[in-house]
């Protein structure tokens, strides 16, 4: 009964085509830079949407995990001369362990309490990054060596773009698989009714922890890639405002929509660039978008659009 080409597969193919065609329109290094930043944000948001949109648990601290990944790569390659891949993996594993340890007690909390606990965690991480100057360079940040992979130094805009695009595609593929599986249904069940989910045999706590850790690891990996790409990290990457930015991207693009997360990340990375001459208005726009979407378009851009198109077909 299942159609051969699921709409999700179609979506993945479209994303692939877009990512391949996009560089043809890039005129300068700046265009590449914006695209790469969008891609990295999108990787974080795809993970975060699994947590917020699908499972219904909020996190106001994911920039902390992103920054931890970035600093793990920076510190381990720069100060201890680890191989870049090794540093990235160690960072991801460490963030995984940390998030697992704190997720178990934190995710027992609900609503405001969960928001506050994740927010506190993010702020503590950012304060540590600011204060441990010997290790992190303090508020001024620190340089990061280039990413070498078996003797191949990754450099050049197109190469970085390709890598980020591949990682993003892979992340989206993983997320789509997960959402379509019994695990994904269990996650959505937790969102729909935690009570009913547990009565149906879903170990709700386990699934919440699982997806929290998974999304934290994705953020960490994106952070590592960012560190090597930009060649420089600073505590600003882990600030509270960055966490809010990620949540805004998820909300704008659409809760419980993988492609929505990608679209939201792209829009909110590009928009401030377009509004560069209105830099003063950036924060106002951000805030207005958050409020406006939540009040007038609760499901976010992509789901609203999909709904609209389906309505037209009928």
């Amino acid at each position: 009964m299942m159609p051969l080409l699921k709409p999700r597969t179609g979506g993945l193919l479209s994303l692939m085509v877009i990512l391949v065609v996009l560089p043809l329109f890039f005129r300068n290094a700046y265009h590449y830079d914006v695209a790469i930043q969008s891609g990295l944000n999108a990787i974080v948001c795809v993970g975060l949407n699994l947590l917020i949109g699908y499972t219904g648990q909020i996190s106001l601290g994911h920039a902390g995990f992103f920054a931890l990944g970035a600093y793990a790569s920076a510190v381990l390659t720069d100060r201890y001369e680890f191989a870049a891949v090794g540093a990235m993996i160690i960072g991801a594993v460490a963030v995984g362990c940390l998030s697992y340890l704190i997720a178990r007690p934190i995710l027992k909390l609900k609503g405001h309490y969960l928001a506050m606990a994740t927010l506190g965690l993010g702020i503590i991480i950012s304060i540590i990054l600011n204060q441990e100057e010997e290790l992190t360079g303090g508020p001024d940040g620190m340089p990061v060596s280039s990413f070498s992979f078996f003797g191949w130094d990754i450099s050049g805009n197109l190469t970085w773009y390709g890598i980020v695009a591949l990682v993003l595609l892979f992340t989206v593929w993983l997320a789509l698989n997960l959402v379509d599986s019994p695990v994904g249904r269990a996650l959505r069940a937790v969102h729909g009714s935690e009570l009913a989910a547990s009565t149906m045999g879903v170990d709700t706590q386990r699934y919440k922890v699982l997806i929290f850790v998974f999304s934290a690891v994705l953020a960490s990996i994106a952070g590592s890639i960012f560190a090597h790409y930009s060649g420089f990290v600073s505590p600003a990457e882990g600030e509270f405002f960055r966490s809010i930015e990620f949540v805004t991207m998820v909300v704008l693009g659409g809760m419980a929509s993988i492609f929505g997360a990608v679209v939201g990340a792209a829009i909110l990375t590009i928009l401030p660039q377009l509004l560069a001459s209105f830099h003063d208005y950036e924060m106002m726009v951000h805030g207005a978008v958050l409020m406006g979407v939540m009040i007038f378009m609760r499901r976010g851009l992509v789901p609203t659009l999909v709904h609209f198109i389906r309505g037209l077909r009928k």
Partner: protein, 256 residues
């Protein structure tokens, strides 16, 4: 042997006693109904048995094993499932997906194979979908399979909850007011459904206000009042019990 045995069960909330010193046992394959006026402690009893509350005193045994205080998901694994008085539908899913969540414990839920969409996951999920569709047919929702659950009428959602609970292949099914808010013809369908379920050797524990349903389907009836047992027996015995008629049925009859 008893499938479910309740032993001197008690639950109080900050000094208010909702269930007190309650004991009864249910044999397999029967329909056991609990009736009583509002506030008699019926829903609290359900929440105790299904693990949403931990008992203050006493114990609950399934197959003579103590299950008191186990979390709901562990009880589900032991073959206990339930529906809810006020609907607990996953409104973010289609009807079929709702029922597939019921099949969770019999699905392949390994994380990494799911993440990489290994063929085994897809095959197992297809079987889940087929089984869930069967369950929807069983409760008479065959034509709602691909409907979004938030687009379904109330009566259908009540049966969707039952289909979802059945998908977990329970041995003991708790139904909390399955006929509440239904019209007479829908109510008859539910009564028939309950009898079908019992014939298929699933024990049903029922809380219901509609007395027609209770008289029709029950093998045994327990009457609760103020959290205590007022009477217990077959439908005939309860009907002719003076205390029950006075405390509960009489009062209701007078209202009409």
């Amino acid at each position: 042997m008893n499938l479910l045995r309740i032993e001197q069960l008690g639950k109080s909330f900050g000094g208010v006693t909702a269930v007190e010193d309650l004991s009864f046992a249910i044999g397999p394959g029967t329909v056991y109904s609990i009736i009583g006026p509002n506030g008699a402690g019926k829903t609290t009893l359900f929440n105790l048995i299904s693990g949403l509350f931990a008992p203050t005193t006493g114990s609950i045994h399934l197959d003579e094993e103590d299950i008191s205080g186990l979390p709901p998901h562990k009880l589900a694994a032991r073959g206990l499932s339930r529906s809810f008085q006020n609907l607990q539908i996953f409104f973010n899913m289609t009807a079929l997906e709702n029922v597939m969540v019921g099949h969770h414990l019999h699905s392949d839920t390994r994380f990494f194979p799911s993440l990489f969409a290994l063929p085994a996951i897809g095959r197992a999920d297809k079987r889940s979908a087929e089984f869930a569709a069967e369950m929807m047919d069983y409760v008479g929702l065959g034509n709602y399979i691909h409907t979004d659950s938030d687009a379904m009428p109330y009566g259908a959602l009540k049966r969707l909850e039952i289909a979802r609970a059945l998908a977990s292949r329970p041995r003991l099914l708790l139904l909390d007011e399955p006929a509440a808010g239904l019209n007479p013809s829908e109510t008859n369908t539910i009564a028939d459904l309950i009898q079908h379920i019992a014939q298929d050797n699933i024990t049903v524990l029922l809380v219901e206000h509609d007395m027609h349903v209770v008289w029709d389907v029950s093998d045994h009836i327990l009457v609760l009042d103020h959290g205590r047992r007022l009477a217990a027996g077959t439908a005939e015995e309860i009907r002719s019990n003076d205390a029950v008629v006075e405390a509960y049925l009489g009062r209701r009859a007078k209202d009409r």
